[in-house]
Each structure stands twice: as C-alpha cells, then as structure tokens.
Point group: C2
Chain length 154, copies 2
Amino acid sequence: MVAGPTSTGPGKERLRLWIRLLRASRTIEAELRERLKKEFDTTLPRFDVMAALYRVPEGMLMSDLSRFLLVSNGNVTGIVDRLVSEGLVTRARRNGDRRTSMVRLTEEGAKSFATIAAVHEGWVGELLGGVSDDEARQLAGMLKSFRSNWEGRE
Amino acid sequence: MVAGPTSTGPGKERLRLWIRLLRASRTIEAELRERLKKEFDTTLPRFDVMAALYRVPEGMLMSDLSRFLLVSNGNVTGIVDRLVSEGLVTRARRNGDRRTSMVRLTEEGAKSFATIAAVHEGWVGELLGGVSDDEARQLAGMLKSFRSNWEGRE
DNA sequence: GAAAATTATTTCAAGCTTAAAGTTTTACAA
DNA sequence: TTGTAAAACTTTAAGCTTGAAATAATTTTC
C-alpha cells in the first residue's frame, strides 16, 4: 500500500492519492505511537479506547466501541482486558441484558487520559504544522465528504 | 486516534483534520485488506512488499524495504520469510557484503503481483470514487507538500 | 593488524489485529 | 412453551508490528 502506481491510465491519479494518504497517516501514526510509548508508556489502541470512553461518562458497550473505533470485536476485548487490569477502565454488568457490560473509564483512567490528551493535541498540531490553516480546513472538508459518501455505500 | 477532539482551542482544527485523515485511511485500508484476503488469499503487508519489489527487478536489501515501507526491520523479516516459503520471493546472498541479501520477486511472484495490482488499482478507483478529479489532484498536492515538509524534520 | 564502532539482519517478547468458531443470553415464533 | 434464530461477547489461531537484544560481518581507528 505504500508503493507507487504500477501503470499509467485512468485509475492512476486516485491510486497516487491513496498512496500519499496512506503514507501521510502512517508517518504521523508512527510518530504518535512512539511518543505515547516514550512519554506515557502507553499505546495508540489504548489511547483510542480511552478517548472514545472519555466522551461518554455513562460508558459504552463493547460493540459500540468496536463500531466506533473501526476494529473487530475480539480486538476490543483484549485492549479493554488490559486497561481493566491496569485499573483505568471498568466493565459493569447490566441488569437488563446480561450479555452486555458497560465499559467506563475509572476516575484514574479519566485523569490519566486528560493529561495525555492535552499533550497529544499539541503533538498533532506540531506534526501537522506544515499544513496551513486554510489547507487544513479544506482537507478536512474533503475527507468528511469522502467519508459520508463512503458510509452510504455499505 | 479515532475519537473526537476533547477540547476547543487553537489545536482543535488540526486535531480534527488528523482524526478524519486517520478514519479515511483506516476505512479504505480495511476494505482493501478484506478484498485481498477474499479474492486472492493474501494480505496487505505481503502486497506492500511485493509492490515495492516489483518496481526494482534487481531487488532490494531488507533495510531498503523497511525504510521504504515505513516499518521496522524485524517486521520485514517475517513477511519476507513467508513470501519466500510460498515461492514468491527469493533472498540472494551477495558476494560483496555477506551481511546483506538481495530480495527479489520470483517469476511467479511478479506474475502474481501484476494480476493482483491491476485489480487493486480498480478497487482504489472505486473506493475513492466519491472524490472528484479536481479534489483528488488538490488533496494529493497537499499531502505531498506535507510529506516533503515532514521529511526535512528528522 | 587488533580493538572498537558501525551496519545489516534476525530473534524475541509483548501486544495488536482479524476472521472464524464458540458461549451465553435474549427475542421471537409456531 | 419450546425450539430456533439473533445478539453480545470471548476465545482461538495465524499473522502483523514494534523496540530491544543478539549475531555476524564490515569498517574505522589507533
């Protein structure tokens, strides 16, 4: 996914766009992952789960998390397991439906996330510093329209 | 990395851009991965390695591959191991420097890649179909400038 | 030319990821 | 009811991923 187009023709331009999109996000992702590890001894997937939960004090179901984060169910299970064992997150049995459990940040988890998120936002600002405000808005708009277009598809 | 901004303020816009960028690439990546699996019983990392090698008939060193693909050395070792065991790639010992080996596509590997790449290009065209030609060019340009800006950084 | 540093690669442990199969619980329908 | 399907999760096997440690070969330095 990171190599160049192998031919010329009609699909070439979009392929080029895709490759650049992927390289850009991989570059930024790798840098953020490394900094999360070095500065806070945590990982991107843990951060993602905590970010999702932080927005919703009442908690989320496992399936909500997996849908929201665009990853598989089994994946979320493992990450939440680890967060629980570190005391950052809890699984609360529900009265209504015993298949499900509400996943919530603990107080410690919320505090920890808030600290990391503030620094993280600064990193993103730094790493995307080369993009002007105008470009940022424009890019974000295009990506949004791409996304809504896509979502209607499946 | 997929959740929304947790605050308002100066860094907010770039954070939003980053989240959209990441969601877009993850969505496309997931779809391509699934199709590669279903249609060709292969994976994205294998495809990436083969794409890199396809451009360079004389082959690449392991370290070239890892640099080019933006992944770690140990990672490439495992993927190439599997490709070798499937007969799609060879490791050739070099006379000059016995630490290194040239990794090349086999004839079968090149043939296999060419088939997959053609279909893959079509998929990307389809998945990015919601982006107009104009937008595609513009986006690609911005991402390119981001990338060169970034590369001067480290 | 021997010791030290560097380079290229592999190995390892831990964690992430998916798809598929399995478990438990709930909902529904005859 | 009571069985059948559906839903929410977890488990499993295989593979991907990283950073760090280990190997081996080359280059540099004295």
